[in-house]
């Protein structure tokens, strides 16, 4: 028995593919070699610059030389390019480890006297036993580049001074500043006042909007589900309509209907001799309006959800309760309500988390307005997310926006992870079948 293992391993460590060729898996070896060649070519040109870029974020801004602008380093492009290169490096390292492990395993099999798979057999093996991984490759690449990389990028921005007016490339450079942005946000009077003001409203909004839509949905579902109510399907169809209309449309329409000067609602009130209300221009009424409009949009969702659960409650529970002489209210309190609460608790928490991030409801309806005088670029109905949006796109305070984004994430993540961990489906998911 020969010792193939160490030779194959050493060869595959030296270069991808050599171990496979040594194992007489030529096609596979050539594929690996091509990957290696391409990677060496790519990294020799970019890796040094990527490391330099991520450490320094550029050294020369755009400058005037003898009356002409000379392009310098654009810190943000450098950061993005470096990040892409480093991500490719991670992928390359993973591929390299796979290559070594594969060479080792195949050599081990040869020592036991087995023929290594030929290329066709390898593909076949992949499809039979590594099906899940093969399936996941494409989505993973998409998620990596369009979700993970952007998030990493934004997290990094929170630790730079990338903001208007003094640190916007290409005229100026951007630098790493550590936790300075967070310190400013939480302790600098102008920023912290806005931050805590907006945070407070965000939480009030999330609680109120979740509770109102949930209770509203519960009420409607119970109303329709009562014994003796006819045309249940028709009521449900009518009441589900607000959910079926795209939010973009319904919220923009509501924005016009509640318009203080020419909106139909105030004109209607005027028609009946009542004074109009400053629906969207007074801070207090604007808050009331967003909650009410959100009920209109959100109640159908809870209604559908709760109606779905009502149908799953076993009938014999009610029959047993009736034999014991329970009245309608008792049946509701002892059977219906606990069952609904039990099944919807996870959704309720997710809806709460979703409402913290409910960009559409605020932005399309009020734009975050009315403006509050002593706030930094925020209005009375701005949530943390819409404030983040304004800081990014209108004010170019990218570092501050990223810091706010990270804080939002921490709040939401703590709710969701708690929620996810305690759901049964995570702990015992294989028990379903």
């Amino acid at each position: 028995m020969e010792n193939y293992r160490s030779k194959a391993t050493i060869l595959s460590v030296l270069s991808m593919g050599l171990g496979q060729i040594y194992n007489r898996q030529f096609m596979k070896g050539i594929v690996f070699l091509l990957v290696e060649a391409w990677s060496v070519f790519y990294f020799s040109g970019s890796l040094g610059r990527a490391l330099w870029g991520i450490v320094t974020l550029g050294e020369e801004p755009r400058r005037l030389v003898r009356g002409k602008w000379v392009e310098g380093d654009h810190s943000i492009f450098i950061l993005v390019q470096s990040l892409i290169t480093l991500l490719f490096l991670v992928l390359f390292i993973i591929a390299y480890i796979m290559n070594v492990r594969d060479a080792y395993k195949t050599a081990q099999k040869r020592e036991q006297g087995q023929q290594p798979n030929n290329f066709k057999q390898s593909v076949r093996y992949m499809l039979d036993y590594k099906f899940a991984q093969a399936f996941l490759t494409l989505p993973t690449i998409g998620v990596l580049f369009f979700t993970i990389m952007p998030i990493l990028f934004m997290i990094m921005l929170a630790f730079t001074n990338y903001s208007a007016p003094n640190h916007i490339p290409p005229a100026k450079l951007v630098d790493w500043v550590g936790f300075q942005t967070f310190k400013d946000l939480l302790s600098l009077k102008t920023w912290s006042h806005t931050f805590f003001g907006v945070l407070t409203w965000t939480i009030i909004w999330a609680v109120l909007s979740t509770v109102t839509t949930y209770l509203g949905g519960l009420l409607v579902a119970l109303l329709i589900n009562q014994q003796g109510i006819k045309f249940k399907g028709m009521w449900r169809t009518i009441l589900v309509i607000p959910y079926a209309i795209p939010q973009l449309i319904s919220l923009l329409v509501m924005r016009n209907m509640f318009n203080g000067q020419f909106g139909p609602i105030n004109q209607y009130l005027g028609y009946f001799g009542l004074g109009g209300l400053p629906w969207l221009t007074d801070p207090f009424w604007a808050k009331v309006t967003v909650i009410v409009v959100n009920m209109w949009v959100g109640i159908p969702v809870s209604m559908i959800l709760i109606m779905g659960i009502l149908t799953t409650i076993p009938k014999d529970m009610y029959e047993a309760a009736e034999i014991d002489g329970a009245n309608g209210y008792q049946k509701f309190r002892i059977i219906t309500l606990p069952m609904i609460l039990f099944s919807t608790a996870p959704t309720l928490i997710m809806q709460f988390a979703g409402n913290i991030n409910n960009f559409n409801a605020i932005y399309l309806l009020t734009n975050g307005n009315p403006v509050v005088g002593d706030y930094q670029y925020a209005g009375a109905t701005d949530l943390l997310v819409t404030w983040l949006y304004k800081l990014t796109l209108d004010q170019n305070k990218y570092n501050m926006a990223s810091a706010v984004g990270i804080i939002i994430f921490l709040i939401i993540a703590s709710f969701s992870i708690y929620n996810y961990r305690r759901t049964k489906s995570f702990k015992e998911e294989d028990m379903i079948q």
Binding site: V80, Q81, I84, L127, D128, F131, A132, Q133, F135, L138, P139, G142, V143, F145, F146, T147, I148, M149, F153, M154, L223, Q226, G228, I229, I238, L239, V240, I241, A244, P246, L248, I249, S250, L252, V253, M254, M257, F262, P264, Q267, Y271, W296, V301, L305, G308, S343, V385, L388, Y389, T392, L393, Y398, A401, G405, F409, S416, Y420, S425, I432, Q433
Partner: protein
């Protein structure tokens, strides 16, 4: 006995009354806009709900006027939404099938990653995506939107789709395997036909997303003839002061009606989709 009957009658009567009021509340704004789109003039307000005369002028205006390129926007949106839907559903299906049917190393990590990534505010990554698209010279193209919408689809849909696939008995797969079917055959011959309701639900939601997305489309699309419906419609009401509300209503009707009809029509599926997502996480 009759007292009980009377009480029941009162209860039902009150319930019907509340239901009628709620129903009016639910459809009034929608009805207002639909009827508004047929009303002559420019104001969204009128004393009566039903207009005194009907006109199709606003619809004609949308497609003929120089300032609105509604026909062009409609085609753009249709193209973007259809392509993102096809690719997005495909990617979501791959992901959810893999995590529902196979047990492999890193599976729980993958699931948790999907969950955590979904918690980041979407536009936190928008600036980065914007720069990335700029790097690749994809700004102001429809391809950029399709790529980003489709790549993001698995994050939103995987959990609901997985919840559905989990309910298809695994004994079916095993029986097919014994009969000599490969994984791919099991997927195409057994799983896909059985997942039709879920596929419809997924296709619908992933079509509607791009169809009405304002934020990201606004960021990427710069020239007016490349705009989508959402960007165009928002521009119609939010940019200028003396807005033409009736034309806006007509636009709103054209965007919302196909989607709304689909949703109401597919209500059953909606219920299933929502509840399976709810009870199985």
């Amino acid at each position: 006995m009759s007292g009980r009957k009377a009480r029941k009658g009162i209860r039902l009567g009150l319930s019907y009354l509340v239901l009628i009021i709620l129903s009016i509340g639910a459809i009034y704004p929608a009805l207002w806009v639909v009827l508004g789109s047929f009303r002559p003039g420019k104001s969204l307000y009128s004393k009566t709900l039903i207009p005194e005369s009907f006109t199709l002028e606003h619809y004609r205006e949308l497609f003929n006027s120089q300032s609105y390129m509604f026909g062009q926007w409609y085609l753009n949106t249709l193209k973007i939404a259809t392509l993102s839907m096809i690719i997005g559903v495909f990617l979501t299906l791959l992901t959810s099938y893999a995590v529902s049917r196979f047990r492999f190393r890193g599976r729980k990590t993958a699931l948790s990653t999907v969950l955590i990534l979904g918690m980041f505010p979407g536009f936190m990554s928008m600036i980065a995506i914007y720069l990335l698209l700029k790097e690749w010279h994809l700004l102001d193209t429809h391809l950029a939107l399709v790529i980003v919408y489709a790549a993001g689809a698995p994050l939103g849909g995987t959990f609901i789709a997985k919840g559905f696939l989990d309910t298809i008995p695994r004994t079916l797969d095993e029986a097919a395997k014994i009969d000599g079917a490969s994984n791919w055959m099991i997927f195409t011959r057994i799983i896909l036909p059985l997942s039709k309701p879920m596929l419809t639900y997924m296709a619908l939601t992933q079509f509607v997303g791009p169809w009405v997305d304002y934020i990201f489309a606004r960021l990427v699309l710069r020239t007016k003839e490349n705009w989508t419906l959402a960007v165009g419609l928002y521009d119609m009401v939010a940019s200028n002061q003396n807005t033409n509300f009736t034309a806006f209503s007509a636009g709103a009707v054209l965007i919302a009606v196909p989607i709304t009809i689909l949703f109401v029509f597919l209500q059953r599926l909606l219920v299933d989709g929502l509840t399976s997502g709810a009870s199985k996480g």
